[in-house]
């Protein structure tokens, strides 16, 4: 394949990574922004999303099973996160350091429980449709510009759907934060927890909702990607690492920054993986984090701490 079409394929792979990463990192960023909790267990909620999707599609076969998984997996993961918030984080008064230790514990509990019940195998989840489409390319020939259909230039409809779904969910998340009463209350809590309390905001309930929403976003991202990736009890590590990279680059707690950084890291990950190697992609992303931490510790979009 020529360079142009090859680059287009790599970009598409990168866009899928970016879409899923943006969803996952948005959850991590939201939790950190509003609650100041660094959720080390975030990747496990991603893993639970994939495992639950497998469970649901086993119980209900066909596209309807998958549609059900899209709904059930985020809801269950979110409910579990709410329970963890109320029983663990709240008791630690959301202390930034102690909650790190607590979520590390939560990470191992979720991982081991999954190993004990679901087992060590990687299991596939079938996409609700498996159509492929060929992609066009523009070429300059004797008779001017024309569309061609290079052999091998194509993708699955599912990958395009994943990108579209992630964009839609992120747009909905933005609308929720910017336009609804609950979103307003969350932003006020993020800005000044004590003043929010002084104006009647039930901060603990807001925290529970935020933690649940963050986990649900990770779980949803996993349901979207699991037809491409398979469900495995250790699959939470990569999304956790990448989410942290994205959240640090974008600026802790800044949602727009998180999204821009997810696109940046996702696309470059896809492109570098295709042309060079996935390891190089990870090395460069980690290097970028180091550079950001040295030269712009507040992140590309974060505000400098007062």
């Amino acid at each position: 394949m020529e360079f142009g079409p090859h680059l287009m394929l790599a970009t598409l792979e990168g866009a899928v990574t970016a879409a899923v990463l943006a969803l996952t990192a948005a959850g991590l960023s939201l939790v950190f922004g509003v609650m100041r909790v660094v959720n080390i267990a975030h990747g496990e909620f991603f893993m639970l999303g994939a495992v639950l999707a497998w469970g649901v599609t086993q119980a209900v076969a066909g596209p309807w099973g998958y549609a059900l998984a899209l709904l059930v997996a985020p809801l269950l993961a979110g409910a579990l996160a709410v329970a963890a918030d109320v029983t663990i984080l709240k008791r630690l008064s959301y202390d930034p350091e102690r909650t790190i230790v607590a979520t590390i514990g939560l990470l191992y509990i979720l991982q081991q429980l999954t190993l004990m019940t679901y087992g060590p195998e990687a299991r596939p989840v079938v996409a609700p449709f498996d159509a492929r489409i060929a992609l066009p390319w523009v070429e300059h020939g004797a008779e001017g510009w024309r569309l061609t259909w290079p052999w091998g230039l194509g993708t699955t409809v599912w990958k395009l759907t994943v990108i579209g779904a992630a964009v839609a969910v992120l747009a909905a998340l933005w609308l929720f934060m910017a336009r609804t009463r609950a979103g307003l209350v969350m932003r006020a809590t993020q800005a000044d927890r004590e003043m929010a309390t002084a104006f009647g905001v039930p901060v603990e309930r807001v925290y529970a909702l935020t933690f649940g929403l963050g986990a649900a976003l990770a779980a949803l991202a996993a349901v979207l990607i699991v037809p491409i990736q398979q469900a495995h009890y250790l699959m939470g590590a990569d999304p956790l690492l990448l989410s942290f990279i994205v959240v640090i680059i974008g600026g802790l707690g800044s949602l727009p920054g998180t999204l821009v950084a997810a696109v940046l890291i996702g696309l470059s990950d896809g492109i570098i993986s295709v042309f060079f190697s996935p390891t190089l992609a990870k090395i460069l992303a980690t290097l970028l984090v180091a550079l950001v931490l040295v030269f712009r510790p507040q992140g590309l979009f974060g505000k400098r701490a007062a």
Binding site: R181, L184, R187, A188, A191, A196, A198, F199, G200, P202
Partner: protein, 230 residues
Amino acid sequence: MLRIEGLRAGYGAAEVLHGVSLTVAPGEILCLMGRNGAGKTTLLRAVMGLLRPMGGAVWLGEMRLDARPAHRVAGQGLGYVPQGRRLFAGLSVAENLQIGLMAGGGKARRDEVLDLFPRLRDRLGQRAETLSGGEQQMLALARALCLGPGALLLDEPTEGLQPSMITAIRQVVADQRARGVAVLLVEQRIDAVLPVADRVAFLENGHLAEVMSAGALRADRGRANRYLGV
């Protein structure tokens, strides 16, 4: 009527307020004065429930406030204007007011409040932290008024403002008094207190040292120096 009875509060094991009792009647401005670190802010925070009292009680009318969860205090009609304004940064002026409205008032209340602060009406879409210092203080006051308070707690609302702003804020506070709101106003400077106060209370190391009428203080300004150390 805001009634504070033997209120004790502090941080961790350290008690800062050692049993303070005060009442503020509806339509009265009680000024609370005292040196830096006397415990003025601590008193207001304890009344708001932001600091769990170690003892004593707080009443607003017939409603006991100190036993409630902190987020259920404001809804009883307690408007708080904290020291340093503490607006919700990143939220617009309109959204800051919205948070105040959620605790009490409705759409009509919002218009009423904005009529008091025309400058805010022109800046509804602007982010709170981009306002000037005086406008920020107006917003902090407007946010508290949005919930239609029966009692208003103000912590040094004129700190660092230019005279025209101080006058404007003072006017709004006096207007609230005229509407029957009980006002507990913390101020540091005696000339900021005398034009508005009905009574003045002096706090010294967490004890209430003296409460006197504004008239008596006007006649004997030197008396205040003992508590303020100027």
